[in-house]
């Protein structure tokens, strides 16, 4: 069982990544809601460099964002949303953001 459950508010960490990532820049620092859970997968940070046998596995979550909160000048409507998936270590409970 992972740390988060459906309905939890989470914020995507804004950590430095060099060379490769699957955590989109636009999602970093943004807060959304966990709408689904995924199995434990190997994290892409290890997989991308061929670290398979000792690769870290983590639960993944589907997070839904309001588009207006993702983009400063979003031209659509309030109802519009975006979903993407993040491994557990890329998320933190909303409201615990630094600064």
């Amino acid at each position: 069982m992972g740390r988060y459950k459906i309905g939890d508010r989470v914020t995507v960490r804004d950590a430095t990544t060099l060379f490769h990532t699957r955590t989109q820049g636009y999602a970093r620092g943004s807060t959304g809601t966990v709408v689904d859970t995924r199995p434990e997968w190997i994290v892409p940070e290890d997989e991308a460099f061929g670290i398979l046998e000792n690769g870290r596995h983590e639960p993944f979550y589907v997070v839904r964002f309001n588009q207006k909160e993702l983009w400063p000048d979003y031209t659509g409507f309030d109802v519009d949303t975006l979903e993407s998936e993040f491994s557990e270590s890329w998320l933190m409970p909303a409201g615990k953001e630094r600064k």
């Binding site: 699957r22 989109q24 636009y26 995924r38 997968w41 659509g76 519009d80 975006l82 979903e83």
Partner: protein
């Protein structure tokens, strides 16, 4: 919609492509070194060539006429695919290296429209839809669909009202997605096969809606220029 798009030659005809040379050189070396076999390549090619949007069309049409199947498809997409002969474990026994085995179907409703994109590369449900369209892989589509979805959809001829939630799915990990559009009016009493014909690839990406008079083979003549866009090359 594929029939409306022109095929632009990528190079002068008759000229040998250096990419063709490189691919064959690498493949021959890999086979000589025993990294994989010629038989592996042949088997995988046969599998890939057998995949196409018809797989997804079948799933949607069956779901439209069979509510119990629809429930199974939405609950466990990978498993439900087997009922129409699509096995995500093919052709290797463990799935393909790039598509994995986690398939999710996204249901459109009168208040919700789903659309898929992969901003980081071009993740696409090949086992049920075949190879992705070229535009789906372009940085342009990847850049804009997440941030200006209504504008991009409008460029495909799809205008959605303000009370319909546009939900963009940025496919960035091991899940693969497909959109299940709503069954359009005017298809009452149709067979599964008739229904499947109007569920085009673009409907399952989420950049188009099915219409009773629009199949992959037969685009209606009254199509507006924006709906039949794509003629001619990009360059």
């Amino acid at each position: 919609m594929s029939t409306t798009h022109g095929h632009a030659p990528i190079q002068e005809s008759g000229q040998l492509s250096e990419f063709e040379v490189l691919e064959l050189a690498v493949r021959e070396l890999a086979i000589e070194k025993g990294l994989f076999s010629a038989e592996d390549h042949r088997r995988f090619s046969e599998w890939a060539e057998s995949r196409g949007p018809h797989g997804g069309s079948k799933l949607v049409a069956k779901a439209w006429v069979d509510p119990a199947f629809k429930e199974r498809l939405l609950t466990n997409g990978t498993e439900a695919c087997k009922e129409v002969g699509l096995n995500w474990l093919e052709p290797t026994g463990q799935g393909t290296p790039s598509d994995y085995t986690f398939f999710y179907v996204l249901e459109n409703t009168p208040k919700l429209h789903n659309v898929i994109v992969c901003t980081l590369c071009s993740c696409y449900p090949r086992p049920v839809l075949g190879m992705s369209p070229d535009w789906y892989r372009t940085p342009n589509y990847r850049r804009r669909m997440v941030r200006w979805p209504r504008e991009v959809l409008a460029e495909f001829g799809l205008h959605l009202s303000p009370d319909v939630e546009v939900r963009v799915h940025d496919s960035n990990q091991k899940s693969r997605f497909m959109v299940m559009p709503m069954r359009p009016e005017g298809t009452e009493g149709w067979s599964e096969e008739q229904l499947a014909a109007i569920v085009t690839r673009d409907c399952m990406i989420g950049v188009a809606l099915p219409r009773p008079d629009w199949t992959a083979q037969q685009v209606p003549s009254q199509a507006t220029p924006s709906q039949a866009k794509g003629k001619g090359g990009r360059k």
